[in-house]
């Protein structure tokens, strides 16, 4: 039984054809790599002096570590503030009062339509020039990240709350809770748990976006690596190492998100839950698409019928 429906279990002819294609693809790939490698070698990119500083000179590693710490610091601040802002905006958008709903909705839509770089430059350039308040690079970066990711997180939370079974809100109202209590005590805690994988994915996006700080002089990983590059004149090697660091950190976070998602699915059934990929594919279109993407397998029957008994 083949593991994909797009092609049958291979017979002898197909096995030969697949082997030929595989070999051809590998040869083509290796040829491309070899071509690039020879060109690089001609330009001396494989010389030890371009690579050894990363191993031999401790100062280089120290600089990289400082940069990574600065990146993580900015991302941590931004994540906390964005969570707070996002929760407030989401609650506003879900409110029954139109005078809360419309402004919150407007703010979210505007913030999501603007490029993150515009927001960062706004705090870094516009504030000093217009209001005379100098905003440090770190806080320009954090404020920009907070505003933008706050809007995205607001949509994630809103999708999470909308994906909860209607019975939750109804039951909470039936036992006499006020609207704000319904939100605070019943809906939000469940929504947070449901959207934890999506939140971790957003953290990955946040980490990647934090590199924009180098454009305003914030000494994050990208900026300090620029210093290394200028001193040692080895841009390829430096940025390769930086890319490797980012890939490692982000892969670890993505793996964590997948683990959390799998654990949610095991504990709470295949109910409405926001998957890791829904962040990028569905959420930007608003809650409806996210709910559709995450809640495709709603079980038939009254809510709670497929749940494990919860204390």
């Amino acid at each position: 039984m083949s593991d994909s429906v797009l092609y049958d279990v291979a017979g002898p002819r197909t096995r030969r054809r697949t082997a030929v294609w595989g070999a051809a693809a590998t040869v083509a790939l290796l040829a491309l790599v070899a071509l690039g490698a020879t060109r690089l070698a001609d330009n001396g990119q494989f010389d030890a002096e371009k690579w050894s500083p990363f191993v031999e000179i401790p100062r280089v590693r120290e600089i990289l570590a400082e940069g990574l710490l600065a990146t993580l610091q900015a991302a941590a601040y931004a994540l906390v503030f964005a969570l707070v802002l996002g929760t407030l905006l989401a609650v506003g958008r879900l409110s029954t009062h139109w005078w809360l709903r419309w402004p919150a909705g407007l703010v979210v839509e505007i913030l999501r339509a603007l490029p993150l770089l515009l927001l960062i430059f706004f705090f870094f350039l516009a504030f000093p020039l217009a209001f005379g308040i100098n905003v440090a690079p770190l806080w320009s970066l954090v404020l920009g990240l907070t505003l933008y990711n706050g809007a995205v997180i607001a949509e994630i939370i809103r999708a999470g709350v909308l994906a909860l079974p209607r019975g939750q809100r109804e039951a909470a109202a039936a036992i006499g809770l006020r609207d704000s209590q319904v939100m605070r005590l019943v809906l939000l805690p469940q929504a947070f748990r449901v959207m934890l994988p999506a939140l971790i994915s957003q953290l990955v996006v946040l980490l990647k976006d934090s590199t924009l700080g180098f454009l305003i002089g914030y000494r994050d990983l990208l900026e300090v690596s620029g210093v290394i590059r200028q001193q040692l004149d080895n841009p390829i090697q430096t940025y390769l190492i930086v890319a490797a660091i980012f890939i490692l950190v982000n892969s670890a976070l993505s793996w964590l998100a997948h683990r959390v998602e799998a654990r949610q699915r095991r504990k709470y059934g295949v109910r409405a839950r926001l998957g890791v990929d829904d962040v990028e594919t569905g959420l930007q279109q608003g809650a409806a698409a996210a709910v559709a993407a995450g809640a495709t397998a709603r079980p038939v029957g009254p809510p709670g019928a497929t749940d494990e008994p919860r204390a």
């Binding site: 797009l6 595989g22 060109r39 690089l40 490029p115 515009l118 706004f122 940025y239 279109q285």
Partner: protein, 215 residues
């Protein structure tokens, strides 16, 4: 406000560069991304590994790092082109990974019977993909593709990092020159970006209504 009115031509040409970057990046990303998605489901193992590795690596790398590697690395390999082209290549490579993931989810959403029927009438893998699966797959993921394209439009602002004179770069320059009207400059530029994003979103909704297959 006068600063904006006097420099309308500068802003217009800057936004034209932004649009060009976005357009080239979009077309390139769609082509490359669909290719990568096909590679990920193909029966040839090396292609599968390459597709998976590509997506995993590029999705976890910041766009700025990708642009830097394009701008600094490609000349060393012998590809020397303008900053604009480096930015276009970097944006294409970066966005293609996201397009690949979206298209792959679309491929998985096509009913199994379609692929089985294609196999049973003897279509080869390329024929199955090209004639049966991909047309349906892409039509079912138009909303996510739309949001990826809007993100691409906003990501063109990062090309300012590699010296492309697009809208963000020009805005910063104007803000520095006309410090007393910086709020108006930012407001106008923000409005234009928002208008572009809204237009794109509206266009995709049109396309979706005419072409989409909901599953």
């Amino acid at each position: 406000m006068e600063a904006v009115i006097q420099n309308v031509d500068v802003l217009a040409s800057a936004f034209w560069v932004t649009l060009q970057l976005a357009l080239i990046g979009a077309v390139g990303a769609l082509v490359v991304g669909t290719l990568i998605a096909s590679m990920r489901v193909s029966p040839v193992p090396p292609l599968r590994w390459f597709g998976a590795a590509y997506v995993q690596i590029v999705r976890n790398t910041p766009l700025t790092v990708v642009l830097f590697m394009a701008a600094f690395g490609l000349p060393e390999v012998g590809v020397v082109v303008s900053f604009f082209s480096f930015a276009a290549i970097g944006l294409t490579v970066y966005t293609a990974a996201f397009v690949a993931e979206a298209v792959r989810s679309g491929i998985n959403a096509v009913p199994v019977g379609q692929a089985e029927a294609a196999r049973s009438i003897g279509l080869t893998f390329p024929q199955t993909m090209g004639l049966v699966i991909l047309p349906q797959a892409i039509r079912s993921v138009i909303p996510p593709l739309g949001s990826i394209m809007i993100a691409l439009l906003k990501n063109t602002s990062v090309a300012a990092a590699v010296g492309v004179a697009e809208a963000m770069q020009t805005t910063a320059g104007l803000a520095n020159r006309f410090g007393n009207q910086v709020l108006e400059i930012f407001a106008i530029v923000g409005l234009i970006y928002a208008a572009l994003a809204l237009t794109l979103s509206f266009l995709f909704r049109l396309v979706e209504r005419r072409l989409a297959v909901s599953r």
